[in-house]
């Protein structure tokens, strides 16, 4: 029994908690440094522990206590938890480094001690939640996460908007928690134990569906899925920049973790229908998320909507996994699972990076509206470079990481041919089409985000500032490196995910399915059929034998129904890109070696120079999308005034429109209204007459008794 990883994780939690306590007593200006040290140590420990579990196979260890009131409390490391913990640590470390100087902007205005303390509490809870192996501790820690993140969102508490956003976030999170808890309790009802490790007893179909729907709704809130994600676009713009990075890079993942935990480990999916629900919600979230992201001009709100999109993609991949699980095709299920988890990890890396980038702009220039920014490449070159990496990654441009997981997702969707029911195939095809549209819109969205913000010229006069401090740059650089690493070396990442998947889909499935060593002649461990290998050898694949890193190709061999081979290698592509760029540069340099280069101003139709108000705005760039998808945005025209002087001099045309987030429109607003009505109904009940109260009490008693008897 190797207890070391669990021990390390425990120490990590302790360090983080200690940091939280010490932060409160340290002098104000030392708080950021403490935050940095404590959270880096804790996160590194968690990372080491997680790594040990994933690479060393040191999992399955359990440590149990039993508390008289709460029942058994179990902690333990699992590969799945370790994977999520590692992803969290990978975001937490750079963010903490970044925070050191970023927090300067709040000095004298808000308490840095409070911030550091909550920050460490959140870290402790996040590390802890992945080792909780029973319902009680899981939800206690879950609540800590919810409260700590809400506290961080409301950090600038003097602004009413922030506090409201935090409350909405907390309220929705609570609703989700209750649903998720109910689902978990139901799931455990069969086994009679609150521990995760005990297998669930046989559940009726109705119970299984109830558990699924409740948990999916409950964890969907955290994961920011439609239609329960109204909190997301509200919380992000008001949260401090580094907190936004954590919200998107870590907190959202918890929702996915929850979904996976319930549907893969606790109550494995039995019905294709469950998978379809997940698939549909995922695809819808992806499309709606990216649509709103595309038309949004506030950088952070845009990134928030883009998180909805990315989590939607990840969940779509999970949906594929669930459908295949239900169809007992564990290889493809594993493929979907790997795609989903990979995408979550990728999203954490690039969204963390992009949020830090946005925070840098906010901190340096005091604004995030793309309609005001522009031309920042000249004043913030390093930030621009990092942001560019993030943009390439999120727009799924190879060889960066977004490409890899989206490729896997599409491969998983294309496996629809292996499913026999026609209905399922149609759903897969539809989701594939939606995801393709989403991918195209994502490119538009981020071309706009990058182009409008960093290229061209400033749309309003910007303060003359220099580059961000080095620690901030380091934070971004680490995340950028992660994006590159996750993108260029997928064949090293996939086995790790494979380890996490091994418990559920059989060990080695992902590696066998995706990283065949087909360069090698049919050596014994090669699972590929000899004739298949021979075909590739006929195509000259053995040439690759001499190349380093034989596994640097991800390849998906079709099943029996559709023996098509899809393969890609971002690794080799990287070398090719570098070589091509080098050759191009060389040729250009050679050809123009003796040429004088004319440099002249941008041609602006004979104008001396373009004025700032003559540059394309972000709104203008995305207006076509707005027009095409008008039915979805369904905007309300708030203002359309035409002012004239002397009846004929047009002096002003004032127009304003508001796009209400569709999730708000279909769910949040009606619910809020119902609550308001209910509240006023309650108020009417309290009119102070004694018999009425007696009546209420009796009624409650009767209802309670009825429930007890029925159970």
């Amino acid at each position: 029994m190797n207890q070391l990883p669990l021990l390390l994780t425990g120490i990590a939690v302790a360090v983080a908690l200690a940091g939280a306590v010490v932060a409160l007593v340290l002098p104000e200006r030392r708080a950021p440094a403490l935050l940095l040290v404590a959270s880096c140590i804790a996160a590194t420990l968690a990372l080491v522990a997680g790594g040990a579990v994933l690479l060393g196979g040191a999992s399955g260890d359990r440590l149990l206590w039993s508390f008289p009131v709460l029942g058994p409390i179990a902690v333990g490391t699992t590969p799945l938890g370790a994977l999520f913990a590692c992803v969290a640590a990978f975001v937490y470390i750079p963010t903490s480094i970044y925070s050191l100087r970023y927090l300067d902007r709040y000095r004298h205005e808000y308490s840095l001690r409070a911030f550091s303390s909550w920050y460490c509490v959140l870290l402790a809870a996040i590390i802890a939640i992945f080792i909780c192996r029973d319902i009680v501790s899981f939800f206690i820690v879950w609540e800590v996460v919810a409260i700590a993140s809400a506290a961080l969102v409301a950090y600038e508490w003097r602004r009413e908007r922030n506090v409201r956003a935090a409350f909405i976030m907390l309220a929705m999170s609570e609703a989700g928690t209750i649903a998720a808890m109910a689902a978990m309790l139901l799931a455990r009802a069969g086994s009679g134990s609150l521990l995760f490790g005990v297998p669930a007893g046989g559940l009726s179909a109705v119970a299984a569906w109830t558990i699924f729907m409740l948990s999916f709704f409950g964890f969907g809130v955290k994961a920011g899925l439609l239609p329960v994600n109204s909190w997301l676009p509200r919380a992000h713009p008001v949260a401090p920049g580094n907190v936004s990075a954590l919200l998107s890079g870590v907190i959202l993942n918890l929702g996915v973790y929850g979904i996976v935990l319930v549907n893969v480990e606790l109550v494995p999916v039995r019905f294709a229908g469950e998978g379809i629900v997940v698939l549909a919600i995922g695809a819808a979230s992806a499309l709606i998320g990216i649509l709103y992201a595309t038309i949004e001009d506030d950088l952070k709100v845009m990134l928030a909507y883009s998180s909805v999109e990315n989590l939607g993609i990840a969940v779509t991949a999970l949906g594929v996994a669930f459908v295949f699980t239900a169809a007992h095709q564990s290889v493809f299920a594993a493929l979907g699972f790997a795609a989903g988890i990979y995408h979550v990890a990728n999203h954490s890396a690039y969204k963390g990076l992009l949020f830090l980038g946005a925070a840098t702009l906010d901190a340096r220039l005091g604004g995030r509206s793309m309609n005001r920014l522009g031309g920042l490449i000249r004043i913030l070159p390093a930030t621009t470079a990092f942001f560019f990496v993030g943009v390439l990654a999120i727009a799924a441009i190879p060889p960066l990481n977004g490409f890899v997981s989206e490729w896997l997702t599409f491969q998983a969707l294309l496996r629809a041919v292996e499913l026999s029911p026609l209905g399922l195939r149609i759903v897969f095809a539809l989701c594939g089409a939606i995801l393709a549209l989403t991918a195209a819109l994502a490119v538009t969205c981020f071309v706009k985000a990058f182009g409008m913000t960093f290229l061209g010229k400033a749309r309003t006069p910007l303060p003359r500032v220099g580059e961000a401090p080095s620690t901030m740059r380091l934070g971004m650089a680490l995340l950028a490196l992660e994006c590159i690493g996750l993108g260029v070396l997928p064949t090293y990442v996939l086995p790790v995910i494979g380890r996490a998947a091994a418990d559920f889909f059989g060990s080695g499935t992902i590696v066998t399915a995706l990283i065949p060593q087909f360069f090698r002649p049919a050596a014994p461990p090669n699972p590929l059929p000899p004739d298949f290998v021979a075909t590739f050898h006929a195509l000259g694949a053995q040439i690759g034998m001499g190349l380093p890193g034989r596994g640097w190709v991800a390849m998906l061999r079709g099943g029996s129904a559709n023996p098509v081979v899809f393969a890609m290698s971002t690794t080799y592509l990287t070398f090719i890109i570098i070589a091509l760029l080098g050759v191009t540069y060389g040729v250009v340099a050679l050809v123009t070696r003796r040429r004088a280069i004319d440099r002249s101003r941008v041609w602006a139709g004979g104008l001396r120079s373009l004025l700032p108000e003559m540059t394309y705005t972000a709104t203008g760039f995305s207006n076509p999308v707005r027009v095409i998808f008008n039915a979805i945005f369904n905007p309300t025209e708030v203002e359309n005034d035409r002012e004239t002087i002397y009846e004929h001099f047009r002096s002003a045309i004032r127009r304003r429109r508001e796009d209400v987030f569709s999730a708000d429109r279909v769910l949040a607003e009606p619910v809020a209204q119902a609550v308001r009505r209910f509240a006023s109904f309650l108020a009417r009940m309290h009119h102070g007459r004694l018999p009425a109260y007696v009546g209420y009490a009796l009624g409650t008693l009767v209802v309670a008794l009825a429930i007890v008897i029925w159970m």
């Binding site: 139709g605 108000e613 540059t615 203008g620 002397y646 004032r654």
Partner: protein, 519 residues
């Protein structure tokens, strides 16, 4: 008639001395009465022809010229301004058509128009010259005398919406377009409003003309807009002849009419060609180009110049043209008619073409009325405004002809007006050719000091000229009001809300000349 109007005016403003002089009601008004009188004229459907500012050594005078639309007759309201104070209440709140005249005078004479909503950056651009540079004032002798001021110029923005921006087109744009800057206000996709910034090509013809002989200034009038040399030249000649009190021979009047119609024919062909080009209908554009070239050749063959330069002269025509040559010209023009008709028919059957010009750049009757638009532009919006009919002059006074009118005010209506006018022009040419008098083509008008108002219907609409001559025949003031200046004023009406890709089409159908406006 004019005498009735005079009686009414005398009864309303008995203190003002009203008189009639050479077909015009003339009166010197006190500054305070101007708005009321102008309002009266506007209410009687008189149109503001032009405002002439003249500055001598010690006096500054504004002359508001109105013309009646119901019967022949003009009115000239004269205001003497204090050359030091240089302030007067703007007429724009009452007569919107005065807007651009006042802006021009503000730039060129440094006159301040109180309550004018938008002055500055008009003729003289703000980023180059100081405001109130007063180019036309006597002390400015050369460009170096102008006060220079490098200021940053910012476009005036009207659209206030999140993400709104100004898309500049020009001043150098497209293949061979005239230089002008268009500021398109948009939030992407649809343009909400387009504002032209003109006068890049401002050559200061009015300034150059001062001190030249009447004959030399005619060259300027012709070359103000080379594509309507006769139109603008004729207005000038008629003004000078009025000033000299000369009476022309009937033959020269008829020939002038003949050339004016020949020019209209060719000019309208050009406009039609531009409309075809703007819709990227290349076959139609090529055929229109070829037809246009044929009209150019006909003109060149008849008088030695493809654009009819050097045809007009003070007192008639520069030389006589033989009747057979004129008839040959008419025959050739007539022979092209079936080709023009075929083009018209093909265009009208081409639904993709109609889709692009129908319901674009709409200017309704009311707007055409308010902005006092002229020419085919106005006629497509059901306003006749044809000087040949409204203020008839020889040879049209004795002629029967139609003024084509359309109702819709859109691009297609304007195209139909152009085609219809071409047909009418050939008919007028034929009528003029039928019985040409033989009383000579030129009189020798003796030079003398004088002032006169002349007008003509140039291809793009009413062209007005005001000329003041010295005793030796040099021009001391030449004020020209070309039709494009009037019609550009209505440009923004036609361009409120349109799809960006329709911009060239709107522009082409409006048939506006930058050169003519910029002078």
């Amino acid at each position: 008639m004019l005498s009735d109007v005079l009686n009414v005016l005398r009864s309303i403003w008995p203190s003002i001395e009203w008189r009639v002089d050479d077909g015009s009601i003339v009166a010197v008004l006190p500054r305070e009465d101007l708005r009321a009188v102008a309002k009266y004229f506007s209410a009687q459907r008189w149109r503001l022809g032009t405002i002439v500012a003249t500055e001598g050594r010690h006096e500054l005078e504004l002359r508001y010229c109105f013309y009646a639309t119901a019967h022949p007759g003009w009115a000239q309201l004269i205001i003497a301004l204090n050359p030091v104070d240089r302030t007067i209440a703007s007429l724009t709140p009452v007569t919107i058509a005065a807007d651009w005249f006042e802006r021009e005078i503000e730039d060129l004479f440094s006159v301040r128009f109180a309550q004018h909503p938008r002055l500055g950056d008009f003729v003289l651009h703000d980023d180059q010259w100081a405001e109130n540079a007063g180019l036309m004032r006597p002390f400015v002798q050369s460009g170096e005398d102008l006060p220079v001021q490098r200021r940053e110029w910012r476009p005036k923005r009207v659209l206030e919406e999140e993400g709104a921006f100004v898309m500049p087109v020009g001043p150098v744009y497209s293949g061979g377009a005239e230089s002008a800057l268009f500021l398109l206000e948009t939030v992407g996709e649809d343009v909400v409003r387009a504002t032209p910034r003109l006068f890049y090509k401002y050559r200061a013809i009015e300034k150059i003309a001062q001190g030249r002989t009447a004959a030399d200034a005619l060259l300027l009038a012709e070359r103000c807009a080379g594509t309507s040399a006769i139109g603008n030249g004729l207005a000038y000649c008629r003004a000078v002849e009025r000033a000299l009190g000369a009476t022309l021979t009937r033959r020269s009047e008829a020939l002038r009419g003949f050339f004016a119609e020949l020019e209209r024919l060719r000019h309208h062909m050009t406009s039609i060609r531009e409309i075809c080009e703007s819709t990227s209908l290349s076959v139609a554009a090529s055929q229109a180009l070829w037809l246009e070239e044929q009209f150019l050749r006909i003109s060149g063959e008849l008088c030695g110049h493809r654009y009819l330069f050097g045809v007009l002269a003070i007192g008639g025509l520069q030389r006589d043209f033989a009747d057979p040559a004129l008839e040959a010209c008419l025959r050739k023009a007539d022979a092209l008619r079936p080709k023009v008709d075929a083009l018209r028919g093909a265009l009208e059957r081409s639904s993709s073409f109609l889709d692009r010009i129908e319901r674009v750049g709409i200017v309704d009757r009311e707007a055409a009325q308010t902005f006092e638009l002229v020419g085919p532009f106005a006629r497509a919006a059901a306003i006749s405004a044809d000087m040949r009919a409204v203020q008839p002059y020889a040879p049209y006074s004795g002629l029967e002809f139609n003024v084509p009118i359309e109702e819709e005010g859109d691009g297609y209506a304007r195209l139909r007006v152009l085609f219809a006018e071409m047909e009418e022009s050939v008919r007028i040419m034929a009528a003029l050719c039928r019985d040409l008098p033989a009383d000579g083509t030129r009189i020798d008008a003796a030079m003398r000091a004088g002032r006169g108002l002349g007008w003509s219907e140039a291809p793009r609409g009413a062209s007005l000229a005001w000329v003041e001559l010295e005793a030796d025949g040099t021009v001391s003031r030449y004020r020209l009001t070309p039709p494009s200046f009037r019609n550009w004023h209505g440009f923004h009406v036609a361009t409120e809300s349109f799809a960006f890709q329709d911009f060239p089409i709107v522009l082409a159908t409006l048939d506006l000349s930058v050169a003519e406006n910029d002078r």
